[in-house]
């Protein structure tokens, strides 16, 4: 992210007050794009919830949606409190300190920063990255994590794993940034990081009951496609917005993002067609996401035709990797490893080959005659982020297990997260078996422990619990009591 720089052609002959005014005028356009991009990236976590939610079984869809919405909420608050400061404050190369805690000092530019937008706009953009990274992990741990344990994990992981890694790579004062590692929008910080953490957590949690023998098909493939479509849309903010300006570099990132994603979709479904006999829609959605992941670190460092190659490789390789888990036997439920860990690493390393300074930033890679230097930097970045993430996540996961269980009890897992954890059903087609209202909770009349007996209901004076006898009037057609107020 060494690429925030004003690209305005400000001639030295221009008087300073005019320069300042023109820069400010130009910054409005940049701010417009960054605020738009921030909104787009926020939407990505909602999209991810549907991408994943469609892939799980119908009894777990709300559990999945809830985990993702919780990530948005928890990280948003944490980042105002101290997360942003740890990632982007101070001049220490390992962590950022608490200078920006509670979003104080937002009238300052972050140390080393060269963006033209308000720092609050920069915060808006960055917080959305911090949100989606733990959310990505939920794909590998689907269907079995107690909500309370998950909630605590996210707070710990975001602070102890994401924030430092973001500082190392994204902050101009971070040690990997200073060594010259190229990660345009988070291939290592977001995707390889989340992939490594996903691998760690699916080892900590263990397999789902019944996996891999029992059928665990997607319950709603259109939701998966909706999620993939909205992810594609939002990812323009993720990658192109990472220029932190509305300029030629942002345009490069936009075009590279779209091109690599398209090529990866094609790469994935071609492999499927050859290997499985069918090109699938789930494959198309997966290929698109694999491409988006792989182009993320590279979006501002390669050319559009380079993106075709990079995307096609990512789509094909990630597709081939999805079957490894079944062979080895770890239940990375929705293939976070195959798509985000493999895709993120691939993208980061392929910059070493396809890197092209024609985009205006970065250095040339091997195919452009730049030699292996860039590849070495990239490998170092990958090694550091993936290694730290995997080990730190394992430690957090096992340490938490000392205090309380991550997993739901077996019968709850079989009944599904929606009913067991959240007391809800995702779908109700009105067949009449959907239940009977037994009361309205209030603070003064606390909820009974889940039990079949009807609670004393708030309107029990009107219809005492003894009412359900065969002589009671139908609730639908009350003959005696007029139904209108």
């Amino acid at each position: 992210m060494s690429h925030w720089l004003s690209l305005l052609p400000l001639d030295d002959t221009i008087p300073d007050p005019i320069k300042t005014a023109i820069s400010s005028a130009s910054a409005e356009g940049d701010t417009a794009w960054v605020l738009t991009s921030a909104a787009l990236v926020l939407l990505m976590t909602v999209a991810l919830a549907f991408f994943y939610g469609g892939m799980v079984r119908a009894k777990n869809v709300l559990g999945m949606l809830m985990q993702n919405f919780y990530c948005i909420a928890a990280v948003s608050v944490l980042w105002v409190l101290f997360g942003f400061s740890i990632a982007f404050g101070g001049s220490n190369s390992v962590w950022g300190g608490l200078h920006f805690a509670l979003l104080h000092h937002m009238d300052e530019i972050i140390p080393g920063g060269t963006y033209t937008t308000p720092t609050l706009a920069f915060f808006a953009f960055q917080v959305t990255f911090a949100i989606i990274t733990p959310a990505l992990i939920t794909g590998s741990t689907a269907d079995r994590w107690r909500f309370g344990a998950f909630a605590i994990f996210v707070a710990l992981w975001s602070t102890l794993v994401y924030d430092p890694i973001a500082h190392w790579v994204f902050a101009p004062t971070g040690w990997l940034f200073k060594r010259g590692a190229e990660d345009f929008a988070g291939g290592t910080v977001v995707h390889a990081n989340a992939g490594a953490a996903g691998l760690a957590m699916c080892l900590v949690l263990g397999k789902r009951i019944g996996w891999p023998k029992q059928a665990m098909k997607p319950h709603n493939v259109p939701y998966v496609m909706l999620g993939a479509g909205l992810l594609w849309f939002g990812w323009f903010g993720f990658n192109s917005g990472s220029a932190i300006a509305a300029n030629n570099l942002a345009s490069y990132a936009w075009v590279n993002t779209n091109t690599a994603t398209a090529a990866a979709l094609l790469g994935w479904i071609i492999v499927e067609r050859i290997r499985d006999g069918h090109a699938t829609t789930l494959g198309a959605a997966s290929g698109a996401v694999a491409g988006l992941v792989a182009i993320t670190p590279a979006a501002g460092f390669v050319t559009p035709y380079g993106s075709i190659a990079l995307g096609a490789i990512a789509g094909a390789v990630c597709c081939l990797c999805t079957v490894i888990k079944t062979k080895i036997g770890f239940d990375d439920s929705l293939d976070v490893v195959a798509v985000h860990l493999v895709g993120g690493i691939l993208g980061a390393l392929l910059i070493g080959f396809f890197g092209d300074k024609a985009t205006g930033i970065g250095i040339d890679g091997i195919f452009k005659g730049g030699g292996g230097h860039l590849l070495k930097l990239q490998a170092e970045d990958v090694g550091a982020t993936v290694g730290y993430s995997f080990v730190a996540t394992l430690i957090i996961g096992y340490a938490m297990n000392l205090v309380f269980k991550h997993r739901m009890p077996e019968d709850q897992e079989i009944a599904g997260m929606d009913i067991s954890l959240h007391g809800e059903s995702a779908y109700d087609m009105g067949a009449g078996t959907s239940g009977t209202l037994v009361g309205a909770h209030s603070v003064s009349t606390p909820a009974p422990a889940p039990a079949p007996a009807p609670a004393t209901s708030a309107y029990s004076t009107a219809s005492p619990p003894s009412a359900p006898s065969i002589t009671m009037p139908s609730p639908l057609t009350p003959p005696a009591t007029p139904s209108e107020a």
């Binding site: 009449g432 078996t433 359900p468 065969i470 057609t477």
Partner: protein, 112 residues
Amino acid sequence: MKLVTAVVKPFKLDDVKAALEAFGVHGMTVSEVQGYGRQKGHTEVYRGAEYQVAFNPKVRIEVVVDDADAEDAVAAVSKAAQTGSIGDGKVWVVPVETLVRVRTGERGSDAL
């Protein structure tokens, strides 16, 4: 033993369940079905193409009861499901030769 099958209006399910419980029957199996009969269906129109839908949603309730209880169960269900308007549904009874509770292997009345 007898299998009492009732096809009734969906919103009557709660009443039928309550009636059976009052009568001492604490088990049943319910499914969503579509019924066709005297009750008229409805019309749908999609971009000018008109569809006649002859079916109405119903629930189908199956209850296995002792021979002696069959007649009373039929009466209780019929009464509970009645609204008096067309489409209230049917109740029928077929003979059951064997009944097993899967959990214990118990047979006949013990399986209820």
